[in-house]
Symmetry: C2
C-alpha cells in the first residue's frame, strides 16, 4: 500500500502541504437529498470539480446504497483503499465515534463541517472538542474546524461550494467564517482574481490562523494573502506568523468583531474572544500587514495587490468617461475626499485636445468629459496619461468611450442651416442596446486590451471603473488583459470611483509605512 505521508516526508515542503493535496476523500454523513451553498454540498462540489478524475471520492451514509450513480458506503471503515481526508457532516453527538474510525483508518486530516462544539458556550461541548482534537493529534491526524466549510484548492480539485473555478491563482484566503469565505471567493472571482488555496477554519480547535499564515508565507503558489479573523487564539504565535507572512507577501486582514456589538456576535459565532482592537491594529501595522475595515475593503485591497493598482506611485488621477458631467463632478469630489488629486491639464494639452473636440457639452480639463472623433481617441488618451502630475488613469470603458453628450453632434434642423464646427463624432453604437452577450464580451475584451496597451505605452497604471455589476462580472470572466488579476498583470477593476480612490489611497499609505516591499511589487 502506497504511503502518502511517507512519500511527502522526502520532499522539502511545508509540513501542512500534504493536507492540501489529498488523493482520496470520504464525505461522511453525506446528504442524501439536495443541498446547496452553506447547506453542505461538499459531495456535489467535488463532483462538479471532477475530483474523481484525480482521486478517490467515497460518500458514506448507511441510509443509501448509491448517490449520483456512485456507490455509497455504510461507514468510513467500509471504504476501499487509503483515505487521506475526511469531511464530517455528521451531528456533533456522533463525532466521537467518527474520530475513532478516522484513527483506525489512518486518515491524514479531517474537516468538521459539524457544528455544536465550543462555539455554543457549553462547557461540556468545549471539553468534547478538546478531547477529540487530542485523540486526533495523538494519532497524527490534523483537524480543520469544527463549524466551518474547509478547503478550496483548485489545483487539487477541492471545493466547498458550487461554482468555484478549478483554475488556480495566486491568492491565499484564510477565513474563520465559511459564509464569508464563500462570499470572498465568489466576489473576487468575478473581478478576475483566482486562488491558490482558500480555507475556512471555524473554531480553529486544531489548525488555526498562525498555522495557515506560516504555510502561506512559504507557499510558492501564493503571492498575496488575505484573512478574515474573528478572534486570535495564540497571540504570540499569530503575530509571529503574520509578521513572517507580511514581510514576504502583501497580507490583508479583516478583523470581525471590531466593535462591542460585533465582538459579542463573534463570540456566539466561533467562540472567539475578540480582544482589544487597538492592540490588534497596532500589531498588524507593526507586522506590515494591511488592515481592511469592511468586507468591501478586503475585496478591493486584494484586487489592488494582484493588479496594476499596486504599482501606482503618486496621488494624481486622470478621470475619463463614465456618465456625463454630473458624474464627473461627484467623481472629482470622491477622489479629493480620499486624499488623491485631480490635476488640471496643462494649457498645451487643452489646446491640443480642443483641435478635435467641440466645446459644446464637453470638458477637457480633467475630469475629461469629452468624446473625440474615433481617429483622435488614442492620441487624446496618451496625451492625458503622460500629462504632468498624472500618476494613474481611471476609466469607465464601454459607456464613456461611446456616448456623445448633448449638443456635441450637430443635428439638421428646421430653424436654419447649422453653422457649428463640423467634427466627425465617434461612432455611435446605436445597436449597443441590442448586443448579444458574446458581442458585449468581445467589446469588453477590446476595451481591456486598449487599456492595457495605453498603460504599456505610457507607463501610467490604468484602473477600470465599472459601475454596473453585470459589466464587472463580464470583465472578470473575460479572458482579457483585465481578467488576469490572478496572474499578476491584470488591470484593477472597481465598482465605483470612490472605492477605486479609497483603495489607491490605502495602498499608498501602506507602502509609505512599510520598510521594503514584497517581491510582487517589483515590476517585470
Amino acid at each position: 500500500m502506497f504511503n502518502y505521508n511517507q512519500a511527502y516526508c522526502y520532499m522539502t515542503v511545508h509540513p501542512l502541504d500534504p493536507i492540501f493535496h489529498p488523493r482520496a476523500v470520504a464525505v461522511v454523513g453525506v446528504r442524501t437529498g439536495p443541498a446547496a451553498g452553506m447547506m453542505g454540498s461538499f459531495y456535489d462540489s467535488l463532483l462538479e470539480t471532477d475530483f474523481p478524475a484525480i482521486g478517490g471520492l467515497y460518500p458514506v451514509n448507511p441510509k443509501a446504497d448509491e448517490i449520483n450513480g456512485r456507490r455509497c458506503y455504510p461507514t468510513l471503515l467500509d471504504t476501499p483503499d487509503p483515505v487521506d481526508h475526511v469531511i464530517s457532516q455528521v451531528p456533533a453527538s456522533v463525532v466521537p465515534e467518527l474520530v475513532d474510525q478516522c484513527v483506525q483508518k489512518k486518515v491524514r486530516s479531517i474537516h468538521f463541517f459539524t457544528a455544536g462544539f465550543s462555539e455554543t458556550g457549553s462547557q461540556e461541548m468545549a471539553s468534547v472538542e478538546k478531547a477529540m482534537i487530542k485523540k486526533l493529534r495523538d494519532a497524527g491526524i490534523r483537524a480543520i474546524g469544527p463549524n466551518c466549510m474547509g478547503m478550496y484548492v483548485p489545483a487539487s480539485r477541492l471545493a466547498f461550494m458550487n461554482g468555484f473555478p478549478t483554475e488556480p491563482g495566486n491568492v491565499f484566503l484564510l477565513s474563520q467564517s465559511g459564509a464569508n469565505a464563500g462570499e470572498i471567493v465568489h466576489g473576487l472571482v468575478s473581478r478576475g482574481v483566482r486562488f491558490s488555496k482558500a480555507i475556512s477554519y471555524g473554531n480553529g480547535a486544531d489548525l488555526r490562523a498562525h498555522d495557515f499564515l506560516d504555510y502561506a508565507a512559504d507557499d510558492p503558489e501564493t503571492d498575496v494573502v488575505t484573512a478574515y479573523i474573528e478572534g486570535v487564539q495564540d497571540g504570540r504565535a499569530f503575530f509571529d506568523a503574520l509578521k513572517r507572512c507580511a514581510r514576504k507577501k502583501p497580507t490583508i486582514i479583516l478583523k470581525g468583531g471590531r466593535t462591542q456589538s460585533g465582538s459579542q456576535a463573534a463570540h456566539s459565532h466561533t467562540g472567539s474572544l475578540a480582544g482589544s482592537i487597538e492592540i490588534f491594529d497596532a500589531a498588524c501595522r507593526q507586522a506590515g500587514a494591511m488592515r481592511a475595515q469592511t468586507m468591501d475593503e478586503l475585496h478591493d485591497l486584494v484586487v489592488a495587490a494582484t493588479t496594476n493598482t499596486r504599482f501606482i506611485k503618486g496621488r494624481g488621477v486622470a478621470l475619463f468617461g463614465g456618465g456625463g458631467g454630473g458624474f464627473a463632478v461627484l467623481s472629482a469630489d470622491a477622489i479629493d475626499r480620499e486624499g488623491l488629486t485631480v490635476p488640471r491639464m496643462p494649457k498645451s494639452a487643452v489646446d491640443k485636445m480642443r483641435e478635435y473636440i467641440p466645446v459644446a457639452g464637453s470638458s477637457v480639463n480633467n475630469p475629461i468629459d469629452a468624446f473625440p472623433p474615433e481617429e483622435h481617441l488614442e492620441d487624446m488618451l496618451r496625451l492625458v496619461a503622460t500629462a504632468k502630475g498624472i500618476d494613474m488613469f481611471f476609466m469607465s470603458p464601454m459607456t464613456g468611450w461611446r456616448q456623445p453628450p448633448p449638443g456635441s453632434k450637430p443635428a439638421a434642423t428646421g430653424a436654419g442651416k447649422s453653422k457649428a464646427k463640423k467634427a466627425k463624432p465617434a461612432p455611435v453604437p446605436a445597436a449597443e442596446l441590442a448586443l448579444t452577450q458574446e458581442q458585449k464580451l468581445e467589446n469588453a475584451n477590446k476595451a481591456a486590451d486598449q487599456m492595457r496597451s495605453l498603460e504599456d505605452d505610457t507607463g501610467t497604471p490604468v484602473i477600470a471603473v465599472l459601475r454596473s455589476g453585470r459589466m464587472a462580472r463580464m470583465m472578470g470572466q473575460s479572458k482579457s488583459a483585465m481578467s488576469e488579476a490572478g496572474y499578476r498583470k491584470g488591470i484593477g477593476v472597481y465598482p465605483s470611483v470612490a472605492r477605486a480612490a479609497r483603495t489607491v489611497a490605502q495602498m499608498l499609505e501602506w507602502k509609505a509605512y512599510r520598510k521594503g516591499l514584497p517581491d510582487i511589487f517589483k515590476k517585470g
Copy 2:
C-alpha cells in the same frame, strides 16, 4: 382656438404648473437615426410613454418627411395647432432662429437639450444665452436649460429617457445634471420609489433651483423633495425657497463640487460657481433640509423618507438572517460603527427561542443567526421585534429565512445513531436554485407581506436588506408591501446592513435637530 394659458389662469395652481402639463410637444432637430440614453432620445421616449394618446407630438427636421410612421415637419412654424412645449435638439448656433420661431408660434415653454452656452466659459456664448433668455421671457416663454435633459412627468406622459415608468409617485427630483437625474430615477425606481416630477435644468439660465423648490413646496402630488445641485445662482432666493420647501416636506440635497476638484469640474460642467461648502451646509441645516454627501446617500435618504424608515424612533437594531455567522459579526460591527446598537435579547426571550432552536450552528442572541422550525418562525420574529430595546428589525429575507446552518439538521451517518435533539427544520427549498423569475417574484412578494404583517402586528419598523442587486430589483418591481415606497407605506429596502444603518442614523440625527416634522412623518 383653446388658450391653455388663459384656462390655467383661473385655477389656483402654481404659476409653473402648466409647464408640467403640455398638451402638445414639438421635438425640434429630432434625430433621424437611432438614439438612446443621454444621446437625446426624447422623441423615442415620448412614443414609449405614449404621449400621443393624450397630446400632440410633432417631430421637426427638414431632412425627413416621416419618422416612425409619423409625419415630420420641416420647421416649428409648419406644425399644426398650438404647441405648448418645445424640446430643442438643434446646435447652439441655430438656437437664436429657433427662439424667434418659438415667439412667433406662441409656445409656453422650451427645453434646451442644446449645450454650448455659458458652461463653456466663453463670454460670447454667455451673452448669447442671456439674450435668448431675455427674448423668451419678454414673450412670456419659460426656458429649462440649456445643457440638460428637461422633464419627466409620469402623469403627463413626459419622459427624457427610455425605461422610465409612467406610474406616478410622490417624489420630486431636481437635478442640474441630466445623467445624474437619469441615474437617480432608474436607481430609485428599482427600489420601489416613484416620482411626481423630475427636472434636469442644466445651466439654469431661466428657471432654476429656487423656482422648482418653490413649486415643489406647494405641489399636492409631492411628499418628498430631492435635489442634485452644483452651484447656487441666487443665494437668497434659493435659501428662502429651500426653507419654505423643507419646512413642509422632507428635502434631501446633494451638492456636487464639495471639494476643490469637484468644484472645478462643476464649473466646466454647468458653469456653476460652487461657493463655500461650509456656508451651503450651514444654510441647509438652518433650513431643516437633509444633506447627502454622496449619490448613494441621496438614494438611501429618499428611500428612508418615502418608507417606514422615517418612523424609526430609537437606535436599537434586531438583525435576522442574511448570510451566516460571519455576516452577522460584520453586520453588528457596521451597525455599531454608525452609532446604532445591537441590544442583547433578554434571558426570557433566549430561553423561549431555545425551546425550538437547536444550539448547534445558531445564535439567538442578536444578531439572530438561527433557523427555527417553520411553525415557530412567526412566534420567534414577534418575540424579537417586541423585545426591550428593539426599535427596528433588519431582515434579509429569501436567503436568511431558508438556509439551515452547518450541523443544525441531523444527517444519518455510518458512525452511529444520531442522538441529536430532533427539531423539525424549516423546509429547505432545494428547488430554490431552479425557480423561474415568476416564482422568485412570488416568493419575494410573500416575504414582503410577512414583513409588513410583522410590522403591523408589533409596531416595530421592518427594514429589508437585500444584498443581491437582482433581488433588490425584483423586490422593487414587485407589487408588494415592499414596493409601495411611492405610496407612503412601503418597506425600506437597502443593499447592505452598513447603508441601512447609516441611513437610519442620518434620519435620526436630522429628526433631532428639526423643529417639528413634515406631515409625511405623521402616521396613519
